[in-house]
């Protein structure tokens, strides 16, 4: 595994291995010494051509806890805002000796383009590309669900997850459906028909237009942000109507089982897709998702960067225990 571009790059076993590794690394984050020497001397570039709070900070914290050097690089305040192309930017990063690039970009497929090109030799990690995928978010959501509702080392068989809201513009929804289905969960998407992408019927999940009906028996409810910045036309009549049909409010939370998790990848539009009492209630794991994000991203960096580059494994005695 050299790059992490899409959940499709991961096998089920690799996904579970990342979650298990994250769990061990979470213990480090809870301990007195939060720093590990594992990636000492490696340079990781955060290339963020789109705004982000959680993902960028959490990748930065993850890289720093593993002792990597982090260079932050955002569109605003760099030559990207002067119109420099992705190719020229990538070649610059290669010249500076980046071992990995974490890329967030508004264009779907930007991470794939970077990985397929010969512009740079390091690993590419997709931190969100347009409306395509956001694999690290899906892994941290799966990690959060597993931590509460399943055992370590296991998959998510039989767990019912409801994903609600702006699926059309959501890279989080796509990655989550692919990963949760891979791990055996039972996933239902709920959205107004205008906010579902073309071809959604081929996704490995069920689709419902009735939120209350879908909530029956749900083990986790994942709310998606209405991405107003990507909307150039009207997808629903008005915000009040959307909230009434597809928003998570106190009454809907009360109808859930006591163990059901309320999740949101952030940033939230409070009052639109989720009310304050649902977001801040006892069942909400929204803040925990952020701290789990650091452990999961440490695991991703560890899996991609700690070992030997592919094809360069130096033969050492196979008796590992005897070293």
């Amino acid at each position: 595994m050299k790059h992490l571009l899409s959940i499709n790059d991961l096998s089920k076993a690799e996904s579970i291995a990342i979650l298990d590794t994250a769990q061990e690394l979470a213990r480090v984050s809870d301990g007195p010494m939060k720093k590990l020497p594992t990636l000492r001397g490696r340079t990781i570039v955060n290339l963020f051509a789109e705004d982000s709070t959680r993902t960028r900070i959490s990748f930065e914290a993850a890289a720093k806890r593993l002792s990597a050097d982090v260079i932050n690089f955002s569109a605003k305040g760099s030559s990207i805002s002067k119109g420099e192309s992705l190719k020229d930017t990538a070649q610059t990063l290669q010249a500076m000796g980046a071992d990995a690039v974490i890329i967030r970009h508004g264009a779907s497929g930007a991470a794939q383009r970077l990985a397929d090109s010969k512009w740079m030799s390091g690993s590419v990690i997709n931190a969100g590309d347009g409306t395509h995928e956001h694999p690290s978010q899906a892994l941290l959501d799966a990690f959060t669900i597993r931590k509460h509702l399943a055992k370590s080392g296991e998959d998510l068989t039989g767990i019912k997850v409801v994903i609600v809201g702006d699926v059309l513009h959501s890279r989080v929804a796509r990655s989550n459906v692919l990963l949760l289905a891979k791990l055996g969960a039972d996933v239902t998407l709920v959205a107004p028909p205008t906010l579902l992408p073309v071809g959604v019927e081929s996704w490995p999940c069920k689709i419902s237009y009735d939120f209350d009906d879908a909530l029956v028996g749900a083990d986790a409810v994942m709310m998606l942000r209405i991405q107003l910045e990507r909307m150039s036309e009207m997808f629903f009549p008005n915000a009040r109507e959307y909230s009434r049909y597809f928003g998570l409010n106190g009454d809907r939370v009360k109808s859930l089982k006591p163990t059901t998790l309320v999740m949101h990848p952030g940033p939230m539009n409070r009052g639109l897709e989720i009310t304050a009492d649902a977001a801040d209630g006892a069942r909400s794991v929204i803040v925990e998702q952020v701290s789990n994000g650091v452990s999961v991203r440490m695991a991703i960096l560890y899996m991609l960067l700690a070992g030997a580059p592919e094809g360069e494994i130096i033969g050492i005695s196979r008796e590992v225990g005897a070293l």
Partner: protein
């Protein structure tokens, strides 16, 4: 492949090591046993059980994963992490006994000392191994040794334990005999 240590010898060696640990530390009160996964962790559990039958008090026993501190990480494909379980009294001010199956280059133990340093500051660190096969690459020595096995560098020492491999045995494989 030749049998270097049969099952009864392994049991005897672990019993002797247990007594030596108790003798060195004047009882089990101050000690914390930390096994290095995978086989060291099982050996630590066995030594703890032996000490408990001798002393009739519970022993602090746990595991210490060293993967993140290895100096050969970049020479191999990435490996899954094993659990680190520190017993309730921690390591601060304790006499910590690291337990592993085979002592070879000493690099695992160096990594273990680094990993331990991140958890706390033990009063002392001692090392118990089932087999010392020589060929050290670092100035490290074991305090308690089950068996010294002179080997050539191109041989492999295989430790099998009932918990994982169905039988207790130490085998030497390969090399010119």
């Amino acid at each position: 492949m030749s049998l270097a240590l049969p099952a009864p010898d392994i049991t005897r060696a672990l019993t002797r090591i247990s007594h030596e640990i108790l003798e060195r530390n004047s009882g089990s009160e101050s000690i914390t046993l930390l096994g290095i996964p995978t086989r060291g962790a099982h050996l630590a559990k066995r030594i703890a059980a032996i000490i408990e039958t001798i002393e009739k008090v519970p022993v602090q026993v746990g595991t210490l994963d060293i993967t993140l501190h290895r100096d050969d990480l970049r020479m191999r494909p990435p490996r899954a992490l094993m659990p680190t379980l520190i017993p309730p009294l921690g390591v601060e001010g304790r006499n910590v006994i690291l337990i592993d199956d085979v002592l070879f280059s000493g690099r695992t133990i160096r990594a273990a000392l680094d990993a331990l340093g991140e958890i706390g500051r033990p009063k002392s660190v001692q090392l118990a191994v089932l087999v010392d096969r020589g060929h050290r690459e670092l100035p490290i020595r074991a305090d308690f040794v089950g068996k010294n096995l002179p080997t050539s560098i191109d041989q492999s020492v295989l430790v099998h334990l009932t918990e994982l491999d169905g039988a207790d045995e130490v085998l030497i494989e390969g090399g010119a005999k």
